[in-house]
Amino acid sequence: MSGISFLICENSYIIRKGLLRVLEELGENVEIKEVDGIEGFRRHLDYFEPDFLIVNPQVFGTENFFYTDIPARLRKCAIGLYSCPDLPENPVFPEFIALNDTKSNILEKIKSLITRCKGENYSNTGSSPEITGREKLIVKYVALGLTNKEIADKLFISSHTVVTHRRNITRKLGIKTVSGLTVYAILNNIVNIEEINR
């Protein structure tokens, strides 16, 4: 499971860095790449597939850049970056950031877009409390080598719910891989080695 990735397209160095600073607040699992113009933007999209775009429309300089330059897949996940507080007449972007937005304001907008696009609640990533009993049980099944589908069947929940649980587990523990979770499970006596080898 991986985190989320952004591509920032903005020609001002200062604005890019400022934005980067704000995005870092989203947590560790965020990958951010930045480009300063169209050329870099196109080149990056050739081999980097970001989940979200943050783009300054002025960089593109054409009226219908939204449809010609932004891949269809990303249009739902694109944030417009505007230097003035007034939104454009026909907003094509699903979300906007203005230069004079506050930090919390910007984060709120980005999190709400992530929630809309990924169907996950991103508003409470700040603290990472202990894992719940339910999550512990899932860690156990993962350590025993069960697939998400098998876990879903055992617990009478959907595979989608298992995926959400697993994402939360990874966020709380800071462990991403199955073998890492297995080590965690053994160290915390959630499973014992004999069970795993069986």
Binding site: E34, Y47, F48, E49, K176, T177, G180, I186, L187
Partner: protein, 243 residues
């Protein structure tokens, strides 16, 4: 700070001591007095432009290679990357493994065996990843460059080598991820979940090494992404437009 050919070589290391390993990989040894990057590179027979690109990309996450400066070849990049791979597999990783073994000798308990097994799995993954690049990605990149050169020199349409037809840099880039996940996990396992080890200094040493290996690997993949991939993609495009 962006390094130029007139920067003092010693200042590179003061700016970022992790560049020490980059300098070593070019075969440059310490003791360069007040010499500039250009002077040292000339003496050591190193391509100054290429050295600067690597040093800058390694040091500054936001450094973008300037197109007009890209006079070096894919071969040079591949040679550098291979040296780096060799450093990971034959120096850094065995070093960490040795430290983990040392920790196990000092402290009985099966939890540390788990840590060692886990790191062993990581080593296998890293080795497989490196083999994939050394045996498939790099030969592909070199083949693209060779074909591109032939195409430009002769200016006529030639038979396209099958490897060039079969792959694309984009395909490779997609596989090129998640290799650092286990390293990330291992740090947290040691920091949060392993029962306390008495020898702090040893555990700290292991953690420092893990953090710096992770950083080095990230800087390394940035060099692949920013210096090698765009160059090959550019050539792929030029080839596609002719054939």
């Amino acid at each position: 700070m962006i390094f130029t050919e007139n920067t003092k070589m010693a200042d590179l290391i003061h700016a970022n001591y992790l560049l020490l390993s980059v300098i070593n990989r070019f075969g440059i040894k310490l003791g360069f007095g007040e010499k500039s990057v250009r002077q040292v590179c000339d003496e050591e027979g190193v391509d100054t432009g290429f050295f600067l690109e690597i040093a800058n990309a390694f040091h500054d996450k936001d450094y973008f290679p300037q197109k007009q400066l890209q006079t070096y070849s894919v071969k040079q990049i591949v040679d550098y990357l291979k040296t780096t791979h060799n450093y990971y597999l034959n120096e850094k990783v065995p070093e960490i493994e040795e430290l983990i073994d040392k920790m196990i000798l000092k402290q009985e308990g099966r939890s540390l065996d788990l840590v060692r097994d886990f790191f062993g799995q990581y080593r296998h993954e890293l080795a497989a990843h490196i083999r994939h690049e050394d045996e498939l990605v790099f030969p592909y990149a070199l083949e693209v460059e060779a074909f591109y050169k032939r195409l430009r020199e002769r200016g006529e349409v030639l038979e396209v080598p099958s490897i060039v037809k079969k792959f694309s840099m984009k395909k490779f880039s997609k596989e090129h991820e998640n290799i650092e996940d286990k390293l990330y996990d291992l740090k947290n396992i040691l920091i949060k979940y392993t029962p306390p080890v008495d020898d702090h200094a040893l555990v700290n040493h292991i953690l420092f090494d893990l953090f710096s290996l992770e950083k080095d690997l990230n800087d390394h993949s940035r060099i692949e992404d920013k210096i090698m991939v765009p160059k090959v993609v550019e050539m792929e495009k030029a080839i596609a437009s002719v054939i």
